[in-house]
Amino acid sequence: MIPELGYAITATALLMAVWGAGAAAGSVRAGRPALLLSAERAAVGAWLGLTLAMLLLVYAFLTFDFSVRYVALNTNRGTPFYYRITALWGALEGSIVLWAWMLALYTLIAVRRYRRRQPELYPWVLAVLLGVLAFFLLVMTVPAPPFERLHPVPADGRGLNPLLEDSGMITHPVALYLGFTGFTVPFAFAMAALVTGRTGEEWIAITRRWTIVAWYFLSLGLLIGGWWSYHVLGWGGYWAWDPVENAAFMPWLTGTAFLHSVMIQERRRILRLWNLTLVILTFGLTLFGTFLTRSGIIGSVHAFTQGAIGHFFLGFLALVLLGAFSLLAWRVDRLRAQGELDSLLSRESMFLLNNLFLVAATFTVFFGTVFPLLSEAVRGVKVSVGAPYFNLVNIPVFLGLLLLMGVGPLIAWRRASWDNLRRNFVIPVAAGGGAALLARALGLGNLLVLTCLALVVFVAGAMTLDYVRAVGARRRSGDGWGAATWGLLRRQNRRYGGFVVHLGVLVIALGVAGSQAWSVQTETTVKRGEHVELAGYRVRFERLTASEESNHAKVTGVFTVANGNMRPATLLPAKKFYPQEQSPIAYVDYRLGLIEDVYLVLGDFARDGSHATIRLQVNRLVSWLWIGGLVLTLGTVLAILPDRRRPA
């Protein structure tokens, strides 16, 4: 019953989205507002349908309805309650449902916000949003139906991928997809601007908050993904330049570039063509990412999850890229800049440089990701590109971006005078250089960390200087420090929100550099009652215990860890044996700290518990990544607060 009902709902939602897209576009030409109203109703209907479909799928999971193929493959009778709900997006078909539902939600928000305020752009925005939604509903109907009936009905399901039984997997896809789908809205406005010929600054002003929100969720998704990788996969790292990670990172890079370059267009009315290109690329890369991770053309060892879905995505990607760039080419005459770059030493130039770096990073990541394919096409050899390539080419680029982060927000528009440069940069440069020298004198030898430290101090110094001066100016009008700061943040929330986001990025940069340079590890076999030492920590192997969980068997190692200044703690790393998995899944245990984490993985062990092989890691500054994420959140909230400068 559920499969048929689900199918019917999906197909109806698809028809509504197709009708809505056509009606919204047609309403302009026909000049019939009734058509637009019908398109809006179709958007609401599609969202309702998707909500119903999602609830239906959750119901099927909760009641173990194995007549639904997707349920049988991603749950079994032992799967714990919460993971039966998150299993909804635990594999391909369900992730498309979540994606489409979010897109439908964004579409509704766009309808609410813009139906009256943007009468010219709005019909086309709605048409594009519903068109994209129709594609995802088509995927749900034909190549990847979540409601496919399973016949015969198996007695029990296969079960969720054990690696996904983790709290990070509850939030990671949600954040990531909110980011991915969020970029559809700026893209839709860009297309509307091209179609209507209103290619000025209007669409950019409207989509500013959308872009920031999408960018934020994408950042959050990437960070939570790193956290998941760190505490679940058990290799002690958070980023591996895996194609799946790269797929999410590329739109982040171009989205970041877009976020910055629109400021130049708003202020100077240049880079119109460039910004349109960036938003098309960003949206295209979100599709490309989905294509890459679901078509199995790259880095796939598992041959049983593929179908026609890759062809659908490639077809849609072709349609989007060819269509969008054709529109762009058609309007190219209107996109001529109305201003020009005055000097290399100006904020515009710094932002352009920032764009150049980000696009270069995107290109290198893209190249590395599709290189295996390229190599096979040209030379017939399958190769893979590993972390060394990505690190080698990207580290200098990211250091350059850090530098620009300090220079960009403070250098003058148009043409910086020596006075402007002296006033804003002498102290921060001295602080950065001084910090590096001090650290060197204290015995810090790693060149990468020193460079990173110098840049971070420079950027933080430049921002602090700016803040102190601005608050000082307000204090002269009689405010106290607190009131002055508050007034500044509220009145210039865009600028200082951006500063706080930059601060978050600095914290993350230190975390990355520190963890790469200073983390240590050892792998060894230890007898019961004996201990291993690493970086001042003594880890003692107490015993092994075995337990039977609802859907797996678990062997847990009991270890006590102590060092000079902390109370002894117990770490319980384990190996989990799932019947549906060939090899056991490691369960990491760790103690997080501001400066260092103790991180323990249980490897092989003797059945009688007499000895066990462990990997012990002391990872430095990894927590700064998560703290940076928090700072990023604060900054984003500040940046999207309603503008106080102009009366509403």
Partner: protein
């Protein structure tokens, strides 16, 4: 004027090579997982069937062995091939061919229900600890290996076995002199 036309056509056309490259990705068949085992001696195994009887490769020397890896949740492929395998077993068991089912990544209850549903009469054993499937480099289910009378792996089939596939491989091996 021609420069403008070139520009207008050039912008969208710039993405075509990329699309072609991605389309090329489909040409590589992800199902064609190469196995280095072809022609090599098959890894020995010794299992206890669900019926409690021992079955081992050594004990089957001199017979053609069809080794099939399956799981009860593997729908529809394992369900599609189950009657094919039983038919093949009945047709060839007296002509020097043995079928061995290896149940992997599964729970015992679900596996027994599967066997009961299809009334399997050939030996079927659980692969406790997944050792045999690791030895044979099994990526997923179902996969089927065809082993000749001398104990060498001669062919591997990924996905559901059809009557034609079974017949083709088994006939070739059964007609070889031992």
């Amino acid at each position: 004027m021609t420069a403008r036309v070139a520009l207008r056509a050039g912008i969208p056309l710039a993405v075509v090579p990329l699309l072609l490259l991605l389309a090329y990705g489909f040409r590589t068949d992800p199902r064609a997982i190469p196995t280095p085992l072809i022609g090599k001696p098959a890894a020995p195994f010794s299992l206890t069937t669900f019926a409690g009887e021992p079955v081992s490769l050594d004990g089957l020397r001199g017979r053609v062995v069809v080794l099939n890896f399956w799981a009860s949740w593997c729908v529809p492929a394992c369900y599609d091939e189950a009657p094919v395998l039983e038919r093949g077993w009945r047709a060839w068991r007296d002509r020097g061919v043995t079928l061995v089912g290896v149940n992997i990544q599964d729970t015992e209850d679900a596996a027994r229900q599967f066997l009961a549903r299809f009334d399997h009469t050939f030996p079927n054993a659980p692969d406790l600890g997944g050792r045999v499937s690791v030895d044979y480099g099994v990526y997923g289910v179902p996969e089927t290996f065809f082993i000749d009378r001398a104990g060498r792996v001669r062919a591997k089939h990924v996905g559901a076995v059809t009557d034609q596939v079974f017949e083709r491989h088994v006939r070739a091996l059964a007609e070889e002199p031992s």
